[in-house]
């Protein structure tokens, strides 16, 4: 699978997927149709990547500031995809970053983390 890159805009997160390194970073704000579409493409891409490497490793980092409900739906789907891959034998680690004092983002991360049964999850407070 190839790399994937979406540049961040005001309402679309920056998405960087590096196939060789097995890393995915999603950072910024996500509250537009474009953002939901970009996340959807990312889900398809990651799914393809993990299908090719059932035993592969993938390190996913979220560093979001805001996302709306339709983006939240996409993130949930992505989490489900990751968890299924982990169940199938892949080494999947998810790190949810939030900024100091951003308890909402921490709570949202916690919620997502609770749904992960197979992938390793960590909640990371960033340095201020």
């Amino acid at each position: 699978m190839s790399d994937l890159l979406f540049s961040a805009t005001e309402n679309c997160p920056g998405i960087t997927f590096k196939a060789a390194e097995g890393t995915l970073l999603i950072a910024g704000e996500s509250y537009s149709e474009e953002a939901a579409a970009a996340l959807e493409k990312t889900i398809q891409h990651v799914r393809g990547h993990l299908d090719d490497r059932p035993e592969g490793t993938l390190s996913v980092t979220f560093a979001l500031i805001y996302f709306n409900s339709s983006s939240a739906r996409k993130i949930m789907t992505l989490m489900t995809t990751l968890d299924e891959a982990a169940e199938g034998g892949a080494d999947v680690r998810v790190a949810w970053h939030y900024r100091p004092g951003d308890e909402s983002m921490a709570e949202l991360g916690e919620d997502f983390g609770e749904d992960l049964e197979h992938a390793a999850f960590s909640l990371v407070e960033e340095d201020s």
Binding site: R73, G101, M105
Partner: protein, 492 residues
């Protein structure tokens, strides 16, 4: 510098070419002249020697040196003559004149001829006459010719230069200057298409004509583009106005679904509402309905905002009607589950192959007439209860309504809270909680919201909406609104 101008370049080609060809013509002419003159000279020498050899025969025979000298003197007066010698038969000079002892200018310029004496049938060589001529006068003539040619050449070059200067200025320089001026004017103003005052059938005339035509065409095109743009802008404005009017009207329809203050007061003694769709219409809506032995107060946040969100709220409204009828005998949790079922079916999300991924967050409060409890069910929505400046949060069920991944038999927890007139109950959608703003560009968050509620909850309900809005807008600052915002609060 001059060689960079057109005239300079033209002259740099003209002058050497004309110079070379004229010099070549002059050289050939001079060479021919020289050859003819030389042949004539040699011919003259030949006839002179022929005549002298005959003329001198008598005098040499008679040794009449006086006659010989007189005859030679006579011919030496000719301008072509250089030297002359007359010898007797032994080769002794009888008379010698001029530079006879020096070699001739050219071998052909000196000719010797025997002097033969004829006596009846007998003839006898008695001496020799040797005459030499000079080519000086030919050279002098050539020199004169060359001088004349040089003057002609100089005059020709001057005339050529002057002619080139004049023609270039008249036929090339002027139209070019006019063209340059026109281009510079045009650079300042794209629309200037003043015709260039130059008409000619030559190439430059064609160029100038083509340029003028191009400018006029461009001007025409620009005008058309401007007209088109103006027309488009007009269309866009018109269309925007239509859309705006349409959405404004849609807003009226959506607002007509909201309960009236009178309806609200039938359910509760006091209430406050902050309802602000992000885009005139939105996906947030609240309801107040008579249900069973009391009233239902509900706040919903459908996926999406704007027109799609608003459509969802209307779908939701009609579903609520049916669900309320269906769940007349059940509790609030049953009602919520019924709403979940109906909405899944309405959106076609109950088959597992749905193309949509929609749903809503919903908070429901059931206030019984004169009852001792307030029932609350939250589907991804919480209830905040404020009392004496303290706020507690009653967490709803974590799952929303109608989303494909929510199981059909999803159960929603019903919380029974003591009905207390000293308490204020609030339901809020995530538009307020998740608004990004503040100095750190961060979401408003639950803690800030809880603190805000604690602060405003002691105010009369009628003042609370404005106060929450003021604090919220201050936090939002210049950040764009992310979502519809709704806050519904009431006291029993």
């Amino acid at each position: 510098m001059i060689f960079r101008s057109l005239t300079g370049k033209t002259l740099a080609v003209y002058l050497p070419m004309v110079l070379a060809s004229v010099v070549a013509v002059f050289a050939i002419q001079s060479w021919n002249y020289h050859r003819e003159q030389e042949q004539e000279l040699i011919e003259q020498l030949r006839s002179l020697t022929a005549v002298q050899s005959t003329t001198l025969a008598q005098a040499v025979w008679e040794f009449d040196s006086e006659s010989i000298e007189s005859a030679i003197n006579q011919i030496m007066k000719l301008p072509i003559m250089r030297d002359a010698v007359v010898r007797d038969e032994t080769g002794t000079n009888i008379i010698a004149m001029g530079a006879w002892d020096k070699p001739p200018e050219k071998p052909a310029y000196r000719l010797a001829r025997d002097i033969v004496y004829h006596e009846q049938t007998d003839s006898q060589i008695i001496g020799q006459v040797i005459l030499g001529v000079t080519g000086h006068q030919i050279t002098a003539q050539l020199y004169d010719n060359a001088l004349l040619n040089l003057r002609v050449l100089a005059a020709l070059l001057v005339a050529l230069t002057a002619a080139t200067l004049i023609t270039n200025r008249l036929f090339i320089g002027r139209p070019l200057a006019l063209l340059k001026q026109a281009i510079e004017t045009r650079r300042g103003n794209e629309d200037s298409a003043e015709p260039i005052a130059w008409k000619s059938s030559d190439e430059l005339g064609l160029v100038v004509g083509a340029y003028t035509q191009m400018c006029q065409r461009q001007k025409e095109t620009n005008r058309k583009i401007k007209d088109y743009q103006a027309h488009l802008e007009e269309l866009v404005q018109q269309r925007t106005a239509e859309l705006h009017a349409s959405i404004e009207y849609a807003s009226r329809i959506q607002r007509s679904f909201l309960p009236t203050p009178a309806e609200m007061r039938q359910a509760v003694s006091q209430f406050m509402v902050l309802w602000e769709p992000r885009d005139v219409v939105g996906g947030d809506l609240y309801w107040c309905r008579r249900w069973r032995d009391g009233h239902l107060l509900m706040l919903g946040d459908c996926t999406g905002h704007g027109v799609p969100g608003a459509l969802m709220t209307l779908v939701c409204s009609s579903i609520l009607d049916r669900a309320e009828d269906d769940a007349q005998n059940g509790g609030l949790a049953d009602l919520t589950q019924r709403i979940h079922h109906l909405m899944r079916a309405a959106l076609g999300q109950d088959s597992g192959a749905a193309e949509t991924d929609d749903g809503m967050e919903l908070g429901l409060c059931h206030v019984r007439d004169g009852g001792a409890t307030v029932d609350f069910v939250g589907a991804r929505m919480d209830l905040y209860v404020a009392e004496g400046g303290e706020v507690t949060r009653v967490r709803g069920t974590r799952t929303g309504i109608a989303y494909p991944e929510v199981p059909e038999d999803q159960e929603y927890t019903c919380h029974q809270l003591a009905a207390d007139p000293a308490r204020t109950y609030y339901m809020v959608t995530d538009g307020i909680l998740d608004q990004v703003g503040g100095p750190d560009h961060m979401m408003f968050g639950r803690r800030r919201f809880t603190d805000l509620l604690a602060r405003v909850s002691t105010l009369p309900l009628g003042e609370q909406a404005a106060e929450v809005r003021r604090a919220f807008v201050a936090y939002q600052g210049p950040d764009p609104r992310r979502d519809d915002i709704s806050l519904l609060g009431f006291r029993l």
